[in-house]
């Protein structure tokens, strides 16, 4: 006979079969002796011994332990978890949800706030401008000569460059190989710009000093995106001429992918090629960026720059006010700017939610273990080692945690694309968010810790109890459940705290969003369509760059043709359309009544707009007093201005009538007569109310590149009409950034909406978790005390009172938690104030009602199982 002798490890199944075969042999032996089958079976079992014990002993011998031990324990844990799925199932689900949400949020925050920009040593890149406390909250920009000041005086800066503070007005129309002309944003930068960032072009060369001489030949470096989209990734692009606004520009480089700074820049070009810019100290529209030398500190550089600006103010009193201070921030801070606090709050909220889900899962697991005390006690009585039971329970906790982590990560993978698509587009780098290993590690650690702690604490107390009473009590589990109750009540309290805190937070943001979306922002016509026209280059109205006259003629003709078209109600043009972002023109002004009373440099500022006739009617800003501009307000006729209500209020407060009063944009500038007062409108930001000054386009130098149009046709038809009319007038022009006022408003409130909805979802989830937890605890309590309930009912105890007795202590914990949660919000109030619109973070109605709501939900969740228990008491006669 040929046998196949094995020397590898026998499986547990081998042992099982082997023992079974042994048992059969023993049984057969007795049967052969004439025993009854029962007696034979009994003998066989007695003689072989306890099969489980044998299996455990054999397992101990296994040379593969501890590895196999762990595997075996885990497999046993999996079996036990599946068997107790009534408690472990919900616990796992809750943990998964918590992990999914917090991991997704962490990844988002990580992408936006924590992940490095694509620049080496980004924390040593500084963004520099000035602030002037006496001129309000406005930042003061720099002029080109200050580049040299910084380069020559601050030794700690390795490279310094200047760039405009916004891309507004730098779009260029690209005409490439007969394609439709497109607008591309450009960034004029001084030649060390990329050296400051620490990046090099992927193709071609960087800017050199010689590219930035006055009247140097125009060169550009394309962004990777523009190179791909508009030039088909042409590898031979270097040295080629491209037509921008009709002028030839030589492509000298293509930037490395991922360099999107300033955001949206399609190409970069040298800044200092115009004598007017290079030499004038009062052409302030720039910010500096600089790379610190290794070893220098941010604070030291800030001090040096600040004292430099002070010296310059003394040296050039005609240009700088002595109250100007340096504002220096590192690039990452500048980059993420205003989205920082919100994202931190969201991250905090998601961590709270993770905590809540860990607590909830903990309560469920705790209940499960408490219910299993008899099983545990029995196993101990039968000789199982305590450490083995503890290991087993910890493994069960670990198993739940691992399952939850896997499910949660999968969920967050699904949730992340949703979040990023749904997130407001103006949060930088949000689309870079991906599942983050650090976030996963954090969540896994939290889940495992939670699961293990939640299994070990009750197990420890279960194991340390004397076995006898536990076993004698049998199925009446009152004392068992009661001893775990205190722990669970604290869990309930913590749950209620989290739920109330999150709900109150969500409530504040909902109220804030409501206030924002119902605020009168001064634009009644949401359907008004707006465009940006980059009006440059040769066209029927003049060669080269448009002169002021040619530009005015162009707009007059365009608006005239549009207004003549059937279906168009009104059309106009403006310098910067509403809600275009934080950009716009701020101008000093002074009224006649206050002229001369103020020192030169600290005039108040207001939003400055140049508009054509019919603008107010198109966007729906009511004229409260006086008249709108008309066709007689042209160059040569008296200079006029329209002011917004908040400015008019200042004039009235001084005892004058606004209409007919005069203002000027500086002491040396001519007076303008106020002819009208409009309602206040919000041009920069929906949450920010500023003063506005409007001048007629026919009397002003600045262009009016934004077209606004309103009609009875659909916006699609209107857009087509505008493009058609534009093409007829001048086929080299491009209309870009089409958006209705409604879309601009929505985009402006998108962040608030995003935060509100997320917080609301988090709050609801936390509340649900709290309710589930309290329901679970009360239901467990009720089943443990059903004997007592039955007896008390039989003795005539009123149901309501019975119920109250049962849930009172647990509810008390919940109430304490709810109050604690809302009070916790008071500690956050300073951080919240800036994020809320028209709502104070301590709004008592919201705080109290969220606490009350949490309590009511908890009450309902507690009453349901309690009522079922007292309504139909069941007695176990076992």
């Amino acid at each position: 006979m040929k046998w196949k002798w094995k020397r590898h490890r026998p499986t547990p199944q081998d042992l099982d079969d082997e023992l079974q075969s042994h048992l059969e042999a023993l049984r057969q032996e007795r049967l052969d002796r004439g025993d009854s089958p029962e007696a034979a079976a009994r003998y066989a079992h007695q003689h072989l011994g306890n099969r489980t014990a044998i299996a455990e002993d054999v397992h101990q011998v296994d040379p593969w332990s501890p590895f196999a031990n762990a595997l075996y324990t885990l497999r046993m844990a999996a079996r036990s978890v599946t068997r107790h799925r009534k408690t472990t199932g919900p616990a796992t689900a809750i943990l998964s949800l918590g992990i999914a949400m917090s991991v997704a949020m962490f990844s988002l925050v990580d992408a936006v706030l924590l992940r490095p920009l694509p620049f080496p040593r980004q924390e040593s890149i500084e963004v520099i401008w000035k602030v002037d406390a006496q001129a309000g909250h406005y930042i003061e920009e720099l002029a080109y000569p200050e580049l040299r000041d910084l380069q020559d005086n601050i030794r700690d800066l390795e490279y310094v460059a200047v760039m405009p503070t916004s891309l507004y007005g730098y779009a260029r129309v690209l005409q490439h190989q007969g394609r439709e002309p497109v607008q591309i944003e450009s960034a004029p930068v001084s030649h060390d710009f990329f050296r400051v960032l620490g990046v090099e072009p992927a193709l071609g060369r960087n800017f050199r000093a010689s590219d930035e001489r006055v009247n140097a030949a125009p060169v550009v470096i394309l962004s990777d995106r523009v190179w791909r989209e508009h030039f088909n990734s042409d590898p031979h692009i270097i040295g080629r001429m491209i037509r921008l606004n009709g002028d030839g520009n030589t492509v000298i480089g293509v930037m490395a992918p991922g360099v999107d700074f300033p955001r949206g820049a399609g190409f970069w070009r040298p800044l200092g090629i115009d004598r007017n810019i290079v030499e004038r100290r009062n052409a302030t529209y720039l910010q500096a960026i600089a790379r610190r030398r290794p070893g220098s500190s941010h604070a030291a550089v800030e001090r040096q720059i600040d004292s430099l600006f002070q010296r310059l103010a003394n040296q050039y009193p005609q240009f700088y006010s002595p109250s100007q201070r340096a504002s220096v921030m590192t690039l990452p801070v500048y980059w993420t700017g205003s989205s920082r606090p919100q994202l931190w709050i969201l991250l905090g909220a998601s961590i709270l939610l993770l905590t809540a889900s860990v607590l909830s899962a903990g309560i469920l697991i705790l209940s499960g273990v408490v219910a299993r005390r008899i099983e545990l006690a029995t196993r101990i009585a039968l000789g199982a080692a305590r450490w083995r039971i503890l290991t087993q329970l910890a493994a069960e906790g670990g198993f739940i945690a691992i399952t939850a982590t896997l499910a949660g990560s999968a969920l967050s993978l699904l949730a992340l694309p949703l979040l990023t698509r749904w997130a407001p587009a103006d949060i930088p780098r949000v689309s870079d968010a991906h599942l983050d290993p650090a976030a996963l590690t954090f969540a896994v650690a939290a889940a495992i810790l939670a699961a293990i702690v939640c299994t070990l604490i009750p197990a420890g107390s279960a194991l340390n109890q004397p076995l006898e009473p536990v076993l004698r009590e049998g199925s009446t589990r009152s004392s068992l459940s009661r001893s775990g109750l205190r722990t669970r009540n604290w869990f309930i309290c913590a749950q209620a705290t989290v739920a109330a805190l999150m709900l109150a937070l969500a409530g504040l943001f909902v109220a804030s969003y409501h206030a924002l979306s119902t605020a009168d922002i001064g634009f009644a016509h949401r359907d008004t369509l707006t465009f940006n026209l980059a009006l440059h280059g040769p066209g029927p109205f003049g060669a080269g760059t448009y002169s002021v006259g040619a530009r005015r003629a162009f707009y007059n003709e365009l608006l005239h043709r549009l207004r003549e078209t059937p279906g168009v109600l009104s059309a106009a043009a403006i310098l910067v359309r509403p809600l275009e972002g934080p950009i716009g023109w701020e101008r000093d002004y002074e009224f006649a009544f206050e002229a001369g009373k103020q020192t030169d440099r600290v005039l108040p500022k207001a939003n400055y707009e140049s508009i054509t006739t019919g603008y107010f009617a198109t966007v729906g800003t009511p004229l409260l007093e006086g008249r709108d501009f008309n066709d007689h307000d042209v160059e040569g006729s008296p200079s006029v201005v329209i002011i917004s209500q908040s400015l008019a209020r200042r004039i009235r407060a001084a005892g004058h009538s606004p209409v007919g009063h005069q203002l000027r944009f500086g002491p040396s500038l001519p007076w303008l007569t106020i002819v009208g007062v409009t309602a206040d409108a919000r041009y920069r930001n929906i949450a920010q109310q500023d003063a506005d000054l409007f001048v007629p386009a026919m009397q002003a130098q600045p262009s009016t590149p934004y077209l606004v149009i309103r009609g009875t046709q659909s916006t699609t038809e209107l857009a087509k009409l505008v493009r058609r009319t534009l093409a007829q007038l001048d086929p080299s022009q491009a209309a870009a950034r089409e958006a209705t006022l409604g879309e601009l408003i929505d985009a402006n409130t998108a962040r608030n909406r995003f935060h509100m909805i997320l917080l609301l979802a988090f709050g609801a989830a936390a509340l649900l978790l709290a309710a589930t937890a309290i329901y679970g605890v009360i239901a467990e309590l009720m089943s443990a005390r059903r004997q007592e309930i039955a007896i008390r009912t039989a003795l005539g105890s009123p149901r309501a009172r019975l119920m109250r007795d049962m849930i009172r202590s647990t509810l008390l914990f919940a109430a304490v938690g709810a109050l604690a949660g809302t009070s916790a919000l008071l500690f956050l109030r300073d951080h919240l104030t800036t994020l809320l619109y028209a709502i104070t973070p301590t709004d008592p109605t919201i705080l109290l009602s969220s606490a009350a709501f949490v309590l009511v939900v908890n009450l309902a969740a507690a009453c349901w199982p309690a009522w079922r228990a007292v309504d139909r008491p069941r007695i176990d006669f076992t």
Binding site: S21, H22, E24, L48, A53, W387
Partner: protein, 113 residues
């Protein structure tokens, strides 16, 4: 009350030795090994038969025995063990150690003179 550690079988070493010895004539399954130990000791040693399995595993791990599934004489599937070459050598070593031990214990236990 059970101890926190698994109970140490005082016969562990001897059981190993006995199993090896029982396997010397030829392969046997667990049941046969247990019976054979009982029979050879004139039923003086009544082992809880299951306890031979941990010992068998230990021997298997050390490479003294190897195992294979086959059909037994009573037409039942059973796992059969046989001595390996090292196992045979081990019997000699164990035997001499046992003899020394028995000799030593006998000397200790003999009546005082």
């Amino acid at each position: 009350m059970p101890d926190d550690k698994p109970p140490v079988d005082i016969l562990q070493g001897t059981l190993n030795m006995m199993i090896l010895r029982v396997l010397l004539p030829g392969p046997a399954n667990g049941y046969e090994i247990a019976r054979s130990i009982e029979r050879r000791s004139d039923d003086l040693l009544q082992v809880e038969q299951g306890s031979i399995y941990p010992a068998l595993r230990r021997l298997e791990t050390k490479g003294f025995v190897e195992a294979s599934w086959k059909t037994s004489s009573t037409n039942r599937r059973a796992r059969y063990y046989r001595l390996t070459r090292t196992g045979r050598k081990q019997i000699l070593a164990e035997q001499s150690r046992w003899k020394t031990l028995v000799h030593a214990i006998t000397r200790v236990m003999r009546p005082a003179e």
